[in-house]
Amino acid sequence: MTARVYVDADEAVEGIRDGSTVLVGGFGMAGMPVRLIDALIRQGAEDLTVVSNNAGNGDKGLAALLAKRRVRRLVCSFPRQADSYVFDGLYRAGEIELEVVPQGTLAERMRAAGAGIGAFFCPTGAGTMLAEGKETRVIDGRTHVLEYPIKGDVALIGAYRADRMGNLVYRKTARNFGPVMATAATTVIAQVREVVDTGRIDPEAVVTPGIYVDRVVQEADA
């Protein structure tokens, strides 16, 4: 069904259940959907698995969700950062599970979920501890690791502009994980800087077609 534009972020995140897998966009703070995460904190879902590149920065966005102890398990590529102190504390206290996935494999596993690929052989990480226990196969003389899709129940992403059908464009490197996560979750909720009338986005420049987007809300009240 075509996307619906919401005025209220709390309405936009309704229905997220305890135990859900939530894909959270952003590379550091660029592209992170802070308004949606704040709404998710108010909404109250807990025991979440969060898939995101990082483990939160400072006290905002994903870090705030972690601080509320709503996240049981984090799947990410680069948790340790200068300002990831919220995550660091939880991890060292044994209060959060961590699965580290190489960044490209993280993206490709979500792409596979969105693209109907059942599994894929990937050379990244072969012979390292991140491939331990995984099926491998030598193809063309090179060891590949069999990787499975990562599918979300919900994706929370940040974009730059949406039209009323949910077509999205992004801005600069804030694009990062948004377009991939939008394909990989059952319910996709996008926070955007502005909503424009349908027909105002160049069809050649659409990055995420509206078919992938269920709900849109503006980053700040207009």
């Binding site: 069904m1 075509t2 792409r111 979920a113 969105g114 693209a115 109907g116 690929i117 039209d163 009323r164 059908m165 077509n167 394909t183 349908t198 027909g199 986005i201 069809p203 050649e204 659409v206 077609p209 509206g210 078919i211 992938y212």
Partner: protein, 226 residues
């Protein structure tokens, strides 16, 4: 109307439907706002029966969402065609994408419905629509197999019998398969039929009774909702 909900009992129209009437029935059953791929040939007719306010979004696998009607006169642009290579138009809110993205969308289950033609459909929903199997035939599959596995629901539009009178809804396909257990519903000249785990259910018939139809098909048929 929700296509998962059969109409109450099976309707009986007085005479078989032509292609246009079949297309109108399919269009009636496509939910508002659905994302739909219409196969080459007869399924293309469905577009003419979609109400503009139904907000149905058409996908064409050569790389576009929100495809508009066929182009006429000055609208014709060789860079803008449908999957049948017929010049088409673009509606507001359209998006273009490349082939890997277009088929990721399809195979990934993001299209709600596809409508395809068929040589044969089996009682368990197998589809044969790409190859007659004749030794001198040149096989051409295009996106048919991708649509068969990827679309949320697969609707088939076909006559229920060949010109020679052979059933096209069969216990088991004799033509090479396009996909296994993928067809959800058949819109035909004589009946609309749901392929369900319980068997083939008749939603409506046109100019023929359920029992007579079952006899001609040599298949058990159930009335929908029975």
């Amino acid at each position: 109307m929700n296509p998962d909900q059969p109409v109450a009992g099976a309707r009986h129209e007085r005479r078989p439907l032509d292609g246009d009437a079949m297309a109108a029935l399919v269009a009636r059953d496509i939910p508002r706002g659905a994302f739909v791929n219409l196969g080459i040939g007869r399924p293309t007719l469905v577009a003419d029966h979609l109400a503009p306010d139904a907000a149905v979004v058409l996908h064409t696998e050569n790389g576009m969402l929100n495809m508009g009607p066929a182009a006429r006169g000055d609208e014709i642009d060789p860079d803008l065609t449908n999957a049948g290579k017929v010049p088409v138009t673009e509606l507001p809110g359209a998006a273009y994408f490349h082939q890997a993205d277009s088929f990721a969308m399809m195979r990934g289950g993001h299209l709600d419905i596809c409508v395809l033609g068929a040589f044969q459909v089996s009682a368990t929903g197998d589809l044969a629509n790409w190859h007659t199997g004749a030794s001198d035939a040149i096989p051409a599959v295009g996106g048919a197999m991708d649509l068969a596995v990827g679309a949320g629901q697969v609707f088939v539009m076909m006559t229920l019998f060949t010109k020679r009178g052979a059933p096209k809804l069969v216990p088991r396909c004799t033509y090479p398969l396009t996909g296994q257990a993928c067809v959800n519903r058949v819109y035909s000249d004589l009946a609309v039929l749901d392929i369900t785990p319980r068997g083939v259910e008749v939603r409506e018939t046109f100019g023929i009774g359920v029992d007579e139809l079952a006899g001609r098909l040599e298949l058990p048929l159930m009335a929908a909702g029975s």
